[in-house]
Symmetry: C2
Subunit: 293 residues, 2 copies
Amino acid sequence: MSAARYLEESREKVDQALQSLMPPEDSHPARLVSAMRYSLFAGGKRIRPVLVLAASGAAGGREDDALVPACAIELVHTYSLIHDDLPAMDDDDFRRGRPTCHRAFDEGTAVLAGDALLTMAFDLLSEGGQVTGHELRLQMVRELARAAGWRGMVGGQQVDMDSEGTQADLPTLEYIHTHKTGALIRCSLILGGLSANADESTLKALGNYGERVGLAFQVVDDILDVTATTEEMGKDQGSDAARGKVTYPGLFGLEEARERARKLVQDAKAAVEGVDATGRLAEIADYVLLRRL
Amino acid sequence: MSAARYLEESREKVDQALQSLMPPEDSHPARLVSAMRYSLFAGGKRIRPVLVLAASGAAGGREDDALVPACAIELVHTYSLIHDDLPAMDDDDFRRGRPTCHRAFDEGTAVLAGDALLTMAFDLLSEGGQVTGHELRLQMVRELARAAGWRGMVGGQQVDMDSEGTQADLPTLEYIHTHKTGALIRCSLILGGLSANADESTLKALGNYGERVGLAFQVVDDILDVTATTEEMGKDQGSDAARGKVTYPGLFGLEEARERARKLVQDAKAAVEGVDATGRLAEIADYVLLRRL
């Protein structure tokens, strides 16, 4: 199966699982549930949950055993987008070509929809301990909470916000990216590994891959923010730069930024060389990242 | 030991535990950690975590074994206050006599501080599975996620927001209160029971007590919103009524509301009659609720 086909099939699997796990549209309180579903089913590419499945497969597990942790990751990712888009933060009106949650509903509902999605992620992880074993599930809770919390994703968003309009240096830029986006991507790989009951050294290799791929994602996003059209991005072109945010092309120029992305993908693939039994992780890194440069 | 003394000593225990579990003030990112600590150490009475300890004791457990789950509950409670105070929701400038988190810092930081506290609660619960057993800890994660999520606290806040300025009926009022405040109070009792490895019937009795006490809290708060001075409340007197919120005194009048609170306390005590070995749960209900009427 080609990488494109694998990604598409996995995305469909994740979408189906999310549909079966989420409360239906007419659940009470309707406005809250509608807002949660609006943002969750907004046509996302489901890269993070697909990485959970691929990591589980790479570590010798059954991919389907990793579906619930995969959905938990996507809920956390979606919550982070809703909150980051708020007027008090990035103040974005559009995402993936549609009005952001607080524009389609209202700010209060958007805050709560994010809160509810984050909370539900832990509800999902707490289930199914019978399959994976309670200790492994509890370890997933810990990994996700650490990756998403003050030392992880939320910390990265705070530093990003704090550094807006300032001339941030490279260590600050790297802190932002390894935390704001990198931590959750790394966690996707770890959750996949834990679903397959992987040993310590496999988890470490998966984590290293996740760190590099996570950083590469951000470099590629920064590059596309400069080079892609508004239509391709689903958000205003050059909006990060216009807002005075530090970006890789801003710091290094476009060509050097591209070179960094390529090197990160190479390092990511090297990190899982002895682990990636299916070869999917290498394929995904090539397909999702290099193709877009 | 008198109820007052017990509450005070337990509060101190919880405060010490929170101090040891929270990142120190100078942790990076400093602004985020400061905001988390600002709201967490704002002089709260720690009623919910004290109920966790008391429930653990009542069910025959060691109270100290319940300290970490108790802290997790307080983190979730604090996050909910920060988000509820936001301009997009209740738009409150003061809480407990101090500027609210978004006034002392900024709105974006307040959203993130709430997110980080909520996330950290699950991090805390994921630890210490060695002591309580992994299955029990995982059950705590589930109970907390359900109590705090779309079917629980967040759902209650949504309906509260949706019904502002409308003439809500009694079922709506009760939905709001059993979810917005009741669910987390009930969960405090359950987490205490789980810390003591209580059996099903004990957990059920604790849950029933929690439901009644939770509702009584809200009725008493509504009454105090009408009768207490701004100084006593630490927020504007009559602010709920002024905002057009449905309240118990608004629906029933002051006397009937008082009668309801008394009846709820009575029912709560009856629910744990065979369980409350230490008698603390009955004392707390009397002391915290009846005394304030």
